[in-house]
């Protein structure tokens, strides 16, 4: 495809929309499909046919519309009315009254001026819920692949890196390393072959941001990867996706096929000398493969064991060659930055953490779903304005960010701005974006035990602090939660946590004790309430005549 053809295709798409053919969009992301979106689609289609409206109105599946807890969601494209909890009768009413007679079905209407929608700022998710995720033409219609065209035909690779560096974009996988800097290292590293890798191994339980992007707007990720390839001089990319996301894999495969057919991936892209291919690698259910060196091992077909860094993957990555590894959300940010310029991007969010962040809100919260907010927004706004607070009026207790590697943020820190540095000050991390809300019913010792069990099961077993340490921490937590623990166990628990944190090989072990440490910091009383009373401990010593000084 040439640049002119791309523009032509975009114009054709836009004309189609302006021509006024009505469209009913239904959310075809996993959350809505689980509660019957396919049935809603079939009902809508059948009813349209029944009322002879199928020539005037299309039914189109899109990516995640956000409010996953109220699914299935349906939206009319021409007047943006959103319907929630759509069942058979609601679907029929949408056709008979809204499409036919232009009367909105108020009983299922969702207020899109509510804070849940109004407080969001969408960059990564701008097309999710708007375009047909399975159509490359619709992506091109919303300025898709324009950034790639601009980069390949107008810019030098070094200028692209400079643009990304100036935008201040930081890795959205959790650690927050500057993306531009990473690309710069790879572009300067020596190696006859370089690789681009997209980390879509979203293992954090309770996180589904990457899946939603891949399902709702796969071309955006491919475009970002291709731009990265051009910038650093790579001609091969890999997307590493979890096997647990079959629909994301299907959409991604389809998107790659479409892009190759259109000449937007493959050889001589936009009639330049730039070649770029993307292959999919499917994970097989190992949390540790989210760690970059383990992920590389897995792509090479080996056990997902991490290795010590340095050398970092930017110098010695896949098959020993320089490799860029970024998260799905990071790549999804690239095309808009190139299109709108780095000045635009750096004005959003805070000075140190520009841009937006996608969060998956879940747990004890009214509006569960997918949100995108500017960095630096107070946690209170996310939980109480956007999330609507805890359901049934129970009391908010803590929010957990960063999954099993993160920490709990208690209610006294609700005013905390959400960015990389601020979250670190309270012992949590940004993580990939899972945000689980807990209310007064949640017991923090049990929560810590839950995460420790997760890390214990997922430890790859290569290094001893993580393999043995997590098991012992779990044992201690189990003992304490069964009211058999003593003060000595608490001391041992803390020492063990620090030891595992400081001596483990990779990020999994180093961050595994975080949930315990952060609950100990803010909810110590919950642990202490479960300890054996000191008297019985004394009695025990008296009876057994234990002499500790011996």
């Amino acid at each position: 495809m040439t640049l002119e053809e791309l523009h032509e295709c975009a114009e054709k798409e836009n004309k189609k929309i302006q021509n006024g053919k009505k469209r009913i969009l239904y959310c075809s992301a996993a959350g809505c499909v689980s509660c019957g979106a396919d049935f809603v689609r079939d009902t809508l289609k059948a009813k349209l046919q029944e009322h002879h409206l199928d020539k005037e109105c299309d039914v189109v599946g899109t990516g995640c519309m956000g409010l996953c807890g109220e699914g299935p969601l349906v939206k009319t494209a021409h007047d943006t009315v959103l319907y929630q909890n759509v069942d058979e009768s609601a679907a029929e009413q949408i056709v008979t009254s809204h499409i036919k007679e232009n009367r909105i079905v108020t009983s299922h209407q969702c207020d899109i001026s509510s804070p849940f929608f109004a407080s969001q700022y969408k960059i990564v998710l701008e097309n999710c819920g708007k375009i047909n995720a399975e159509s490359i033409d619709e992506y091109i219609g919303v300025d898709g692949y324009q950034a790639l065209a601009k980069v390949v035909s107008e810019k030098q690779p070094q200028d692209v890196i400079e643009e990304i560096r100036k935008s201040g974009l930081r890795g959205r996988g959790g650690a927050g390393y500057l993306t531009g800097l990473k690309w710069d290292i790879v572009s300067k590293a020596k190696g006859e072959q370089k690789y681009i890798v997209c980390n879509a191994d979203e293992g954090d339980p309770g996180a589904f941001m990457d899946r939603s992007v891949l399902e709702g707007d796969p071309h955006r990720v491919l475009e970002g990867m291709a731009i990265a390839g051009y910038a650093v001089g790579a001609n091969q990319g890999f997307v590493y996706v979890r096997a647990e996301y079959p629909s994301a894999i299907e959409r991604l495969k389809l998107a790659i096929k479409q892009a190759e057919k259109a000449g937007l991936l493959g050889s001589r892209i936009f009639e330049s000398n730039f070649n770029f291919r993307i292959d999919i690698r499917i994970g097989a259910g190992a949390f540790v493969c989210g760690e970059e060196t383990a992920l590389l091992a897995s792509i090479e077909g080996r056990r997902g064991n991490p290795r010590p860094r340095p050398p970092f993957p930017s110098e010695k990555g896949l098959w020993g060659m320089p490799t860029v590894i970024n998260n799905v959300e990071t790549y999804a940010n690239i095309a808009p930055i190139i299109r709108n310029g780095f000045e635009w991007f750096s004005k959003i969010g805070t000075a140190k953490s520009p841009g937006t962040k996608v969060f998956a809100l879940a747990g004890k919260i009214k509006n569960t779903g997918l949100i995108e907010v500017p960095m630096g927004i107070p946690l209170r706004t996310i939980i109480f304005d956007i999330g609507g607070g805890t359901p049934d009026g129970t009391e908010f207790k803590a929010a957990q960010t960063g999954g099993p590697s993160g920490g709990c943020i208690p209610s006294q820190h609700l005013e905390l701005p959400v960015d990389y540095e601020s979250l670190a000050t309270v012992g949590s991390i940004m993580g990939s974006g899972g945000l689980i809300v807990m209310d007064s019913e949640s017991k923090m010792v049990e929560v810590a035990k839950f995460f420790m069990q997760f890390c214990m099961d997922e430890s790859c077993g290569k290094c001893i602090p993580c393999r043995v340490g997590t098991r012992h921490i779990y044992g201690l937590l189990d003992k304490i939660s069964k009211k058999k623990g003593t003060q000595d166990d608490m001391i041992l628990l803390q020492e063990l946590c620090m030891m595992v944190k400081e001596t483990s090989l990779c990020g999994l072990g180093q961050s595994a004790p975080n949930p315990v440490l952060s609950t100990l910091r803010f909810f110590r009383h919950e642990y202490e309430e479960l300890l054996q009373p000191v008297e019985t401990f004394q009695e025990f010593n008296d009876v057994h005549e234990v002499n500790f000084e011996k």
Partner: protein, 175 residues
Amino acid sequence: METVHAVPAKGQHPSGDNRFKLLDRAITKHQGRGDALIEVLHVAQGIFGFLENDLLIYVAHSLKLPLSRVYGVATFYHYFNLKPKGEHTFVLCMGTACYVKGAERIQEAVERQCGCTFGETTADNKISLITARCVGSCGLAPVVVLDNVVAGKLSVEQAMQKVTHLQESRVEEII
């Protein structure tokens, strides 16, 4: 005493099992490269349902990899099963969101009902109880997946009822 074995046709697996042809096709697609091991195991499990020892030996031979490497990879990743599954699967999501919303109570109740723990298959080989890390439908927590159909926002009673449904399908078949 000599036994006479039927000679398999060229390119056919000695067992005469045609499913190996599908597997061979996948191996050829990856040009027999060792780094495609995980992809090949995915295909093998998709065709055969689980990875038995003979299959692992066959894959190792085809990809020219040591068997230790193939076995190491197959046991490292949770997704690969070395034992056959039951007729039905009951997957309970134990992600954080589901946990906070009471998946543990469902776990206890279902284990009591089935008489086996998660990770096992019932004695009559009908239901495999499996826990998942997160199926990504956190908005519907707590979530179970019954034979690839997701059911969300379940109470303990509803979950137990679902198990009974799975068990009853067996009763009908026997009658």
